[in-house]
Every structure is written in C-alpha cells, then in structure tokens.
C-alpha cells in the first residue's frame, strides 16, 4: 500500500515537474507546479513528516504559488509575446546539468541500501520539529527569519520608491 502510494505520487510529482518545464502557457506551468508540490506533500506524509507536509501545502502551494499566479495573471502574456519555441545551448546545458545532479544524488542513495534507519519516536511531529528549530537549531532558524525580514523590508522599499 505504502509502496503503491509512493510510486503513484512519485510519478505524478515527476510528471508535474516536467509539466512546469514543458508547458508553454505560464498559468498552466504554475498549475503544474502546484500539482507537483501537492504530490511532494504526499511523499512527505509517507515518510511520517506530517508537519512538513502540512507546511509545504500551506506555504508553497497555498501562499507562494497564489502570489506567483497573481503576478502571471496580471502580466497576462499572450501567445505571440512568448516567441517561438527554440532549442538554445543554455537549455541543453540545463538538461545536462540536471542529469548530472540526479546522478550525483542517485549513486550514494543506491549504495546506502534500501532499508532506511529507524526514525526517533517524535520524528516529524509538531513537538519534534519545534524542539529542533527552537532549541537545537535556534540560531540558523532565527538567521533565516532575519533574511526573510530583510527581503520584506527591501520589497517595501522598492514599492515605496515608485509611489
């Protein structure tokens, strides 16, 4: 059952990601990404990371992608403006790079064997993750939030200048 779900949603996630890259229409591309993120959340649930799954949907699918969609809809690109579909060296390089990265990740995983180490009891629970980010990794976590704050202040500055 778990394996079947993993195969199903893993495949769907890959298909969704391909859809993002290959679709011409930016709104459809964004939709594919939402679908891929959703499938990824299911994969998180299968690895018992329930909090991560909920936050993935809440933050990425629910907030970030809605804003993306918002901007794409405001731009309202037409078919003519997108230009013809061309195969450029940059795209070839991107494909090659992706394949190489996949290879780099796949080899150690294959060598590590198929049985994952047993997770601690509070793994992926709200308490467990909370303990990790507010105790063990407090400083990196707070620094990330500072980074986000800087981005927010920067965005406000950029918007204010035009007003």
């Amino acid at each position: 059952m778990e394996l079947a779900l993993f195969v199903l949603f893993g495949t769907l996630a890959v298909l969704g990601s391909l859809g993002v890259v290959l679709s011409r229409n930016p709104v459809r591309g964004a939709l594919w990404l939402v679908g891929a993120l959703f499938c990824l959340a299911v994969l998180f649930i299968l690895t018992d990371a329930h909090l991560l799954a909920a936050l993935e949907v809440l933050v990425y699918a629910g907030a970030v992608m809605v804003l993306f969609l918002f901007v794409i809809m405001l731009l309202n690109l037409r078919e003519e403006e997108l230009g013809p579909r061309r195969f450029t060296p940059v795209k070839a390089l991107a494909v090659a790079g992706t394949v190489y990265l996949g290879w780099l990740m796949a080899v150690p995983m294959w060598k590590a064997g198929r049985v994952p180490p047993a997770a601690p009891a509070d793994y992926g629970t709200v308490e467990g993750v909370g303990m990790l980010i507010f105790k063990n990794y407090l400083l990196p976590f707070e620094m990330t939030s500072l980074l986000l704050l800087a981005a927010v202040v920067g965005a406000v500055m950029l918007a204010k200048r035009r007003m």
Binding site: M1, E2, L5, N25, V27, R28, L31, V34, I45, L46, D48, H50, L51, A53, A54, L55, V57, L58, A61, G62, A63, V66, L67, L69, F70, M73, L74, N76, G124, T125, V126
Partner: protein, 376 residues
C-alpha cells in the same frame, strides 16, 4: 504512525457519512438562506415551487402542498434547473482550466471537515471510536493548508474565463483570501498556546474544564478577542457580503464566476455553502466547546452517568452531544446568514485596510498578551 497500513473500515464509514451529511445540508442551507433573506427584507420567501401530481394524491398530498408552501421544494427545483441548464464555455476561454476551476473550488471545501470532531468518543462493541474522520497530529494546520488552496478556484475561474470583469474578480479574490488567511492563522495561535495542542480533539477536550469551578473553559472565554478576529477573518474567506468584493455585482457583474452557468456555477455556489458549514464547525470546535455540553464531561459518553437517580447510558449522552454540536453549528450558520443580509458591502480598499491594518495587528497583539499572561 503508519498511516497507510492502519487505514480502517471505520474511517471509511465516517468519511462517507460526513461527506453525505455535508452534501445533504447544502440544499437545506439554500432554503434556510432564502428564508432568512426574506425575513431580513420583510418578504414571504420562496413558496411557489410545487410538486406536480404528488400534490393531488389523497392522504399524502397535503404534506406535499405544505412542503411547497414553506418553500422546501425550492432547492429541488434549483438543482434540476442547474443540471438541465446549458453549460456555456466562452469562445476564447481556456477550456481545460475553465472546467477544472469549479472542482478546485469545491474539493478543498469538502475535505477540510475531516479533522473537525463532531462527537465524543463512543464505544462500539469492544472498540472505542472517535467521532472524527481523521485525528491528525497537525490538526488545524491541515485545515489552514487546505483552505489556503481555496483561492485557486476563484483565481483560475476568473483568469480562464477571458473576461475583464472575471479577471478583476479573480485578482480581488486571491488578494483578499491571502490577506485574511494570515489573520485567521495568527488569531488562532493564542488557543494553541492555552490548550497546548494542534489537534482539534485535544482543543475540544481542553474546553471541558471549569474556570473558577463554574464557567466552562471555552475558547471564547479565555480568548475573547481571538474569537472575534477569527470569525471576521474566516467569514471574509467565504467571500460573502460584506466581504463579497470578488463578486461585487454592482461593480463587476458577478466577478470571477460571471462566465459560468449551469452546474459549474452550481458548484461554486455549493462550495460557498460548504465553506460556511466548515467555518461554523471549526469555529464551534475552537471557541464554543465543540460537541461539549456545558458542565457535562465528554467521558460520560463512554461510561454513562446517573442523573437524579436514573442511569443514563453512554449512547444517550453521545447523541445529546452530537445534537449539541449540530445546534451550535446551525446557530453559527444562522449568524452568518444574518450578517450576510444585514451589512452592506465594503469597498475593496476598506477590505484590505481592515485585514492588514486592524485585524492583523490585533491578532499579533493577542498572541503577545496571551504569552505574557501565561508566563506570569
């Protein structure tokens, strides 16, 4: 924690029952809303939809005439109209997304009810069953996550229709829903701090304690400000008047669903009613003791309890609590109708100002004060 293997039959039964209950309630709610709007505007309300032929039968004919007179046949006529109406898709519309959008609006609305507990633990045979479809550890985050997907329905409907009014409605809808989501999440944090859990089950059970030995420790008692903020924010999420700028019939025709007809329009309509039920269920669970009856511990549903010398068995208590839950939900649905038909629409900039400059700072201050009080 093995979710896939521990998928029991009971969960399937509960999910089916809850789904059908919600589907069944939404036509009743259209009737309820029409009656309340009639009350608010001093009219009679629907009373002319009739059942042909059956009314003329002897004996039971009177019953059907009565049902027609109080307007309860009206939702049936509505449903028949919507199903048989032409399903029109504009010529330059993105057909796939146009068809998909009503589904995207409807599905998150339905599945959010899964984590709302609608009754106490009961004993069936040798097992103890929670009356809740899924008791997730992330609990309310699941609701927030799924309701954060709701803007897609409106946004995609408006964009794919290829109509400027629809697009305006879609932009308004997504901006409004994102804004109020933030406030909705922030206003509930105080509750998690007090009850110490994200599980709705635990939050409801935390509300059966008594403060100073008399007052039930309901969310509204310990977090009165959050109760108001949460209701306002969650109500804005349903996009109904006074927060109905995404539809704004006097400004942008019908907003994001201008180009929808037939059952696809019906699906947006249903989604709105389902969202109202979910809102009421969630609000009751967070702030008004869920299925709890004041001064009655939830444990009585398992053990039974003697009242005035007469032994009242557990299932009677369970039924009473189920009834209490339905009654509370019905009240908050009623309250939403009252607001809908009493207040005029906000202007769009007023909606934004209310969300970001009033509700959000207040809910953040509420977290701070709650934390200070708990420390002290």
């Amino acid at each position: 924690m093995n979710t896939a293997a521990a998928f029991p039959l009971a969960a399937l039964v509960k999910a089916t029952v809850v789904l059908f209950a919600i589907v069944g309630f939404s036509p009743v709610m259209t009737w309820f809303e029409r009656k309340i709007s009639a009350l608010a505007q001093d009219r009679m309300g629907p009373n002319r939809a009739r059942v042909p032929w059956l009314e003329k039968l002897p004996l039971i004919g009177g019953l059907f005439r009565f049902l027609g007179r109080i307007g309860i046949v009206h939702p049936v006529a509505d449903a028949l109209k919507m199903i048989t109406k032409e399903d029109f898709v504009p010529d330059r519309a993105d057909k796939l997304v146009h068809t998909l959008a009503p589904w995207i609006a409807l599905v998150p609305a339905f599945v959010t009810f899964a984590v709302v507990p609608f009754g106490p633990d009961i004993r069936i045979g040798a097992t103890i069953q929670h009356l809740q479809v899924a008791n997730l550890e992330v609990g309310i985050l699941y609701i927030f996550a799924l309701s954060s997907l709701a803007p897609y329905g409106a946004a995609l409907a408006g964009w794919s229709s290829n109509n400027k009014f629809s697009l305006l409605g879609a932009l308004r809808a997504s901006a409004q829903m994102i804004s109020y989501e933030v406030c909705m999440g922030a206003s509930a944090i105080g509750l998690f701090m007090i009850y110490g859990s994200l599980r709705l089950e635990q939050i409801v059970l935390g509300q059966q304690d008594l403060l100073w030995g008399i007052v039930p420790k309901w969310g509204v008692v310990v977090q009165p400000l959050a109760a108001i903020l949460f209701f306002a924010a969650a109500y804005a999420e349903t996009k109904r008047a006074p927060f109905d700028t995404p539809e704004g019939d006097s400004e942008i025709v019908a907003g994001y669903f201008t180009e929808y007809s037939g059952m696809k329009f019906g699906m947006f309509y249903t989604a709105e009613f389902v969202e109202m039920i979910v809102l009421a269920g969630l609000y009751v669970s967070l702030f008004f003791g869920g299925y709890l009856i004041p001064w009655v511990p939830a444990g009585w549903a398992l053990t039974g309890q003697a009242v005035a010398g007469v032994m009242v068995p557990g299932f009677v208590w369970a039924l009473l609590m189920l009834g209490a839950f339905l009654l509370k939900v019905a009240f908050f649905v009623f309250l939403q109708f009252q607001i809908r038909w009493t207040l005029p629409r906000f202007r769009y900039d007023q909606v934004m100002r209310l969300g970001w400059k009033i509700l959000l700072p207040l809910s953040l201050a509420n977290i701070l004060v709650t934390g200070l009080v708990m420390l002290w």
